[in-house]
Symmetry: D2
């Protein structure tokens, strides 16, 4: 069922929920889901409301127009999303396919409510897989001499595909600061460790060396500071002394794909609100 999803953040205070839900009720809007959070440290308030589109006497544009008055009074930062407008996800990959296979499968069976117009890679390996799904595959040359040009191409491809979200599904290249800035809150990475442990390269090797008893993965928004962006989701899996680095890689693949899928799914449903360098997730 088509829904309008309203997300709001503002300085906390009394009457915000009453005002917002009062506005919706005044137009007989049927609220199917609602969640809120007040951050005591920052004094910020976060809210997410799903309204049945057909319960309203007008469409998304008129909702937005009418709501903007109230929003101005209450100093709300707000966003309205129509679930009929599927978000466009551009996936960046390298050679490893476990996250990509998982995302494509979830997209095919409807678990991920989005369009995937394009997959970009610095290697040719995954072309056949992507094209079998009827999705365009573009290879970009990331040779050492032309990183800047390569990222310019990526940005151009993303914009050309009218991308809403860029997903780094084990892309293994560091996004330059200007792109982090330009697409702030729209680039999602899966890091193959339980951050902040083992940031940077070869986290499974680091985990093996340290002798940890669980490994993990972290889905986060990409910021200019490497592996330090707001965390959306994490999970861990148990290992033991008999597991080699190769087995850590195998066990980790399962955690990575699940964590990325959950994080992306929540992002697509407007369930993730950035709160400084942390996130509010209305899962």
């Amino acid at each position: 069922m088509r829904r309008l999803v309203l997300t709001v953040t503002c300085p906390d205070g009394t009457g915000i929920v009453a005002a917002v839900t009062g506005f919706i009720a005044a137009h007989d809007g049927w609220v199917v889901e609602a969640a809120q959070h007040g951050d005591l440290n920052t004094g910020r308030f976060f809210q997410r409301i799903e309204v049945l589109a057909d319960s309203l006497p007008f469409g998304v544009d008129e909702f937005a127009e009418r709501f903007s008055g109230l929003a101005g009074e209450l100093e709300l930062d707000w966003h309205l999303h129509d679930t009929d407008q599927k978000r466009r996800v551009v996936v960046l990959v390298s050679k490893e396919d476990h996250c990509l296979v998982d995302l494509l499968h979830r997209w095919r069976n409807g678990d991920l409510d989005c369009d995937i117009p394009l997959v970009v890679s610095n290697h040719p390996d995954l072309r056949a897989l992507v094209e079998w799904h009827g999705i365009e595959f573009r290879q970009v040359d990331f040779g050492a001499e032309r990183k800047a040009e390569a990222f310019a191409e990526v940005a151009s491809l993303f914009d050309g595909a009218q991308g809403d979200v860029m997903v780094l599904a084990r892309f293994m290249q560091i996004i330059p600061p200007d792109l982090c800035e330009r697409y702030a809150g729209r680039i999602i990475n899966i890091h193959h460790s339980f951050l902040p442990s083992f940031a940077g390269a070869r986290p499974y090797h680091q985990a093996f060396e340290r002798g940890v008893k669980l490994i993990g993965a972290t889905c986060h928004y990409v910021t200019a500071e490497l592996d330090a962006g707001p965390i959306i989701e994490q999970d861990t899996a148990r290992i033991d002394h008999a597991d080699t680095v190769d087995e850590l890689l195998r066990i980790g693949r399962e955690v990575e794909r699940s964590v990325l899928a959950r994080g992306l799914r929540w992002h697509l449903a407007d369930r993730v609100l950035v709160n400084g360098h942390r996130t509010v997730v209305f899962a």
Copy 2:
């Protein structure tokens, strides 16, 4: 901080949240937490709101009085709880102490926000432990000939202690239907299996025989139908072929105490709303 916790259930419809939050906002009430759920199958709506007591211009009684008008209009079943009024928990135990030790520890360190005026047992074994905590311990004779009398004594002790909740912390006696009825939604049991598997006696032996790879525990409200009441919380733990029944018992003890503590904690905070033979848990 003192809060008023309002829980509401009613037939789902538009404007309920707006009406309720509007009422609170009209009196400048500061909402610190709110959650809601609409059950699509039953058409019932559930809501829980926490308001800062000091933000309101009146106390809990006047809140209730003023709110009852609105509640009547909207056909709300509602309950208002003042967090300064600690709930009184009466614990029933047999010989096993792991759940009791855990509850008493959580009560002592403030994790469980309640009073524990009384522990009742059919055995003398745990008297010293209970009394060391400064809590009254009463032993009731549950001899085969006098089960009815014994339960009448339990009810009388519970009422005498002005009990709000009766917790069966591995009590190992089946509560008779009349008490289940009389204290509906106020008796909480911990069953040592992942229900509905292994209902009844000796669940760990049953689990061992069946060769399951995880064991579990279930915290539920007690109803006249054995081990079939609304489930509040469950969890599982991994076992393997080398684990004997004794080891299942040991591993299970840890799951039992955690699951019971979580279930009771949520009940004490008005986070559990019964929805037929299921529950809504605003955890």
Copy 3:
């Protein structure tokens, strides 16, 4: 590295490990992994040993020939597997593809050490997916009138493909007793509940109705008694009151595919030994 995997079961007694490892040591065999289990209830002993093939002065056949003398003396049931001889897995599917996609991906990237010569289905839907992987796809007509013929075809296809293991990856048809018998310990099913809860049809609907707080999946050997065969692996995932049956299905898919993959992986590595209606899993 090529290894010989020896699995042994026999009445428990002193000196078995010494005899078996002594035999291997006498030929300078390098043991890379070993595990054992004595079942106190049944008095059975179980052992699994991995020997580096190149450390032995002879091949698998001569190992078997020489070992059979010792095995006879000790009344061992034993099995010797050469990791260079990949097991042949025939997958049976219906319309749901999440387990199949996962198995095929793990087969492609080497996580599952086997050949998959054939996928059989009662529906045409998954043909393209299977054939893209270069695997033969055969559709069998399971019309109500011809179940027996259909299963005869399945058996014939399985034998024709020289299948070692038959995997029911959400096949949704009940295997007849004669096939269960014929391929005892070689048919692996994934059931979409945490058995013994919710055996039979529509387990997620049953779970929803009961109001459980975790759902699960069970990988087990198929026997003539429905959903009652020896359990290889299980796992659970958390749900809450807001999850509809569709969301249970979605969450369950992830548990199912992981549990099936682990169970099959262990079976392929000779890590699962049947012990009556239970299993010993040297994971």
Copy 4:
């Protein structure tokens, strides 16, 4: 049942298991459990064997005497433990009691197979709890000026109590290098984070600041390098954006006590073998 537990570590090679199990078999020893691990990176071999004491024709001393010949030939580092000789655990605490309550309960009900002759603290708060269990409680003055004297007292108390293991159950004082050295492999700490994340002070505050979605705890042997000793056990628990630091502390207490209890339990059963700065855990 009384058992002798033999743990062995040596350079890996062929025939070690055969030699050791052959020795036991030659004396009709009944092996109830055995596990082994070869570390491919270091070339070290680790083995743990449990023999039924009554199956042997001699006691632990004669076993040791006879075994030492073989051990010398094979260059084994080895240790023999008689389960009738309970290990003596000295617990160091500060003011927080959740780990101590848990350890004392597990000791009382037999889950932890050890004696606890003494609890030492830098504060008086937990005296009554300890003494109720019939255990000696000693308070040591850790004033800023006399850290060295205080630790000398601790060592003296530990030695006087004939301690085998020193458990830091949220002791909150840094053990000086000389004691780390003197009791190497015998001091077990519970750190309240998922190491290597959030080493040092106030890990829950660090975790909150970073916005992680799981918190954890780590049980490890204490070495001179703070929070960097060989890890015995770890676990994590889920948190969300609504959890304050106080709630992290509450959730963390449950993880801490479980992880510490598992780690100590394995240590007491000779299941933990140190392998450089990592551990082999035959759980």
